[in-house]
């Protein structure tokens, strides 16, 4: 019945923008309004409070009787009778443009740096749309971060989503900033941008990043979206979406290689839990909603490369593990979605190892196709595998030594201990401004392996041993 639907749409258009005075319930960041015209799911709303301040929100549940919406700027100071509500007839869109680089915005994409609202090139729904898997190109390009623990052992690939699993007080910001400063593609001059989204982090963290971008002279290539600790927690829900919407625009309309840093995902998840609890949803683990996995996937999957496009989106989400517990739902569900993880170890940090990248639980799943001959160096895959194997044995030996005492260890095990220490002190450890080439990293790896007898090195070939083993030990 096409005529029917035409009438219907015309009617809806007429009603759009109609204002309702008074809401029926306010609960945390949610408002409930009865007896409205038919409202669409996820429709954008605007609330105007008593002081005349407008706040944006989104419809979470809609029916003939009642509409539930979340208010991104929070509901504090709102009153039931005086709040005016307007339904906008469409979902939340933000204007995006290349000119947003070099600027600072709040979580909803409104400038907070005192500058003018940039003229947008397109208005785009912040929720994004799933990328068709057949449209993707498999990420393969090696990014040199200049950090041995990453380049050598957990290689970052252009288009990858590789989170940092950290803990409170650990130097994740330092590492993320160092990556953003140093990241480059071998032999290529690229058109790059950084999109930075802060959710619930403190002001000085944001300042740290801004300063670091400034010092390295890249600030004009960075767009920052800040929803800080003292901003309403609900705004954090929309912040990464806003940031990723711009990232997609830059990558796929302007052919840019975009590095997206999202910090701190744990705060994002907590806001999600808050809304879910208020709505009375049945929780799954630790009170987090059952859809946390799908929700995080909606964000993390907005990365990658596409066939026929030269731009890319690489994501480095940062999350602090509550109690350093990697099995907590936030790191756990993230790990199930991302393409590996850089895990920080508090114990290494205590021994002043920077970056404190744990050897065994860290992993880059995309490195297999991005390293080796023609990409990094032909010995890289075997070298990395051998370093992992040897370091894993070091952990066993250390355990054993703690029980029976170091004196009781065999000479070979002593050699392993020596290797383990050198690996942590020389290979993993580096300065915050130290930028190593991949060749330096790999040579350093061989220098470490040369502390072990060659018969122990099963994972490298005889030719590789011939060529690299003991080279730097005269």
């Amino acid at each position: 019945m096409p005529s029917d639907s035409k009438v219907y749409r015309a009617e809806k258009k007429l009603l759009t923008g109609r204002e309702y005075i008074g809401v029926n319930k306010i609960d945390g960041p949610l408002i409930f309004i009865k007896h409205t015209h038919p409202i669409g799911y996820r429709e954008l709303i605007e609330c105007i409070d008593r002081q005349g301040k407008p706040r944006l929100g989104m419809v979470l549940d809609t029916s003939e009787e009642i509409v539930v919406a979340q208010i991104f700027e929070g509901t504090s100071g709102m009153t039931m009778p005086d709040t005016r509500v307007r339904f906008m007839g469409e979902s939340l869109k933000i204007g995006v443009t290349r000119d947003m680089l070099g600027r600072i915005f709040n979580g909803l994409g409104q400038p907070v740096d005192g500058g003018p609202e940039p003229d947008s090139e397109a208005e785009i729904d912040v929720n994004g749309k799933p990328i068709n898997p057949t449209a993707r190109a498999y990420p393969k390009d090696f990014i040199q971060t200049g950090i041995s623990a990453i380049d050598g052992m957990n290689t970052l690939i252009r288009g990858q989503k590789l989170p940092i699993f950290s803990g409170n007080g650990l130097p994740h910001n330092e590492l993320a900033a160092q990556i953003a400063r140093q990241a480059k593609i071998k032999g290529a001059k690229t058109n790059f941008a950084v999109v930075f989204a802060a959710m619930g982090v403190k002001n000085d963290v944001a300042r740290f990043f801004i300063r670091s971008f400034e010092e390295s002279g890249v600030l004009s290539n960075v767009a920052l979206f800040l929803s800080l600790a003292d901003d309403p927690s609900i705004e954090r829900i929309i912040t990464p979406r806003t940031a990723l919407t711009l990232a997609e625009h830059l990558a796929f309309e302007h052919d840019m290689h975009v590095l997206v840093i999202l910090t701190d995902m744990s705060n994002y998840c907590e806001s999600l839990r808050e809304i879910s609890t208020i709505r009375g949803e049945i929780p799954s683990r630790k009170g987090y909603p059952g859809y946390l996995y799908s929700d995080l996937a909606e964000l993390y999957e907005r990365s990658g490369m596409l066939k026929g496009f030269s731009g890319s989106i690489t994501q480095i989400p940062i999350l602090t593990m509550p109690n350093d517990d990697i099995s907590h739902p936030i790191p756990d569900l993230s790990g199930y979605i991302t393409e590996g993880q850089i895990v920080f170890e508090r114990e290494m940090f205590a021994r002043s190892i920077y970056p404190p990248v744990a050897g065994l639980p860290s992993l880059s799943r995309l490195m297999k196709d991005g390293i080796g001959e023609g990409m990094t160096r032909e010995d890289h895959p075997h070298l990395a595998s051998q370093l992992f194997a040897a370091y894993s044995y070091v952990k066993d030996v250390r355990n054993l030594a703690s029980v029976i005492g170091e004196e009781e260890l065999t000479p070979l095990d002593h050699q392993y201990l020596e290797f383990g220490d050198a690996f942590e002190r020389k290979f993993v450890t580096q300065g915050q401004n130290e930028d190593r080439t991949i060749e330096q990293t790999l040579d350093l790896g061989w220098e470490m392996l040369s502390l072990l007898p060659p018969e122990e090195l099963h994972r490298v070939t005889d030719e590789e041993l011939e060529k690299y083993y003991g080279r730097n030990r005269i």
Binding site: G40, P130, S294
Partner: protein, 591 residues
Amino acid sequence: MSDRIIGKVKRVNGPVIVASGVTDAIMLELVRVGEVKLVGEIIKLEEENAVIQVYEDTTGITPGENIYGSGMQLSVELGPGLISTIYDGIQRPLEEIHKISNQFIERGISMPALSRTAKWHFEPESLQPGSPLLPGTILGNVKETELIDHKILVPPDIEGTLVSLAAEGDYTVEEVIGLVKTAEGGEKSLHLMHRWPIRKARPVTRRLPLDIPLITGQRVIDTLFPVAKGGTVAIPGGFGTGKTMTQHAIAKWCDASLIVYIGCGERGNEMTDVLMEFPKLIDPRTDLPLIKRTVLIANTSNMPVSAREASIYTGVTLAEYYRDQGYHVAVMADSTSRWAEALRELSGRMEEMPAEEGFPAYLPTRIAEFYERAGNMEVLCGKTGSVTIIGAVSPPGGDFSEPVTQHTKRFVRCFWGLDRQLANARHYPAISWLESYSEYLDDIIPWWNQRVGAQWSADRKEIMELLQKEVRLQQVVKLVGPDALPDSQRFILEVCTLFKNAFLQQNAFDDIDRYAVAEKQMKMLELIVTYWRKGSQAIKSGVTLVKLKRMKVIPDIVKMKFTIPNDDLSQFDKLQLRLERSLDQLEQVYA
């Protein structure tokens, strides 16, 4: 699609919609919601209301919008053209969608799963008009790929006598290729294609015993925890422990005739990986690209959650259809946990009473129903075909005591538990030899012993016992160090380490090691068991462990998986001979 309005939207809560004014809807009916015509399915009828699960993003759907009925259940299209195709969870062809929209999946796109214009060369069977047609009768053949003779079957719900059958020639899937007169006297047309509802298992004649292994080429699986053709397996493991890699490896190298790979709520790039790699990889058994035997279902984690729920049924229905033509089909479902979570989310939105951890009380029933669709069957056309289901499970926190792992364990007969410690140590595949098991072992021993080597079951048993002993010895070592053990016991540790490095670890990225034929596995096992048996003899006669370890042949055994390819197995016999000689020499010196 019909324009029958069956009701109006009353409430929208994520992918769950309540419709009102519903009087003539059918349970499980496929519907279209709103003016954007989103695909949905009726999952509950209650007085004048219907609950609809919508397979696309419901943003913008508004109370009052129309709901259109289709008169049929959510079904898949079965016919030539499935192979090498990638579908979403409700069988929409993603490549075709990509052609007409852009890099993103737009909503409300409706597209036939099978091309309506492609012509297929149909060769009819010699069936005379008047001959009886039973469900599953083979009407003819279409060469779908170089590998797959696609048998055109009488659909399971049609029976009667043949009126006419088309001559050999080229037909589209919709053209009539035959007429059948049914018992009620009506006439029905037959096509290269038919539809089947995804939630209903396709009928078979009977179940057959499961006594032939599915050779996966992965040593830890085939040798230690084998699965039978038609069997069911769960692969549980925390993130990054190797579920997907294991399933990819099996999809590539196992000896099934056809693979249905279901990416259920997992990463987009993993599907891209398959799409890029399978057309290039050559199936060693047929010398053809692997994609020629593969159907892909991709409902990635960011695609709508209800279509994720449907995806595993879509996949298994396609598998059953090829099974009905007499093929052995292996289904990979990665990950069934994401499917269970989709169930949980939908159930929560419907405000159902939750059972454990928010999952609905019917979770175990659904898991059981899914795995029941596996089996080795005598199919309606009289042939034998099988569906093997290999499901990944992603337990929260890697903790196997959670509901999905626990219930899955009840309904599968083979369990490949992935171990975080092994994965962290980069021991891949990280399948734990202590926690895993296979209930198919006893039934497939005859196959191995008769086809591959008479000593297979004895060797296997011996090595399994050693691995158990090793655990106890390791506990002692942890307390007092290895030096406290006598050589005879340290030798057990030594053999187990060798077995783990040289045999169990298998590198999926190595051109030679990535899969091992049954005979290669047998010969490698034989070598290590020989080392154990003769070595412990030698130790008894006074040879020291150090001497055994220093034998020149040992490094060659460690590297044999990388150096000896599947087509040059005689090298193993030489290695075996060298090993035996070296051991004999040592023993002579010390005796």
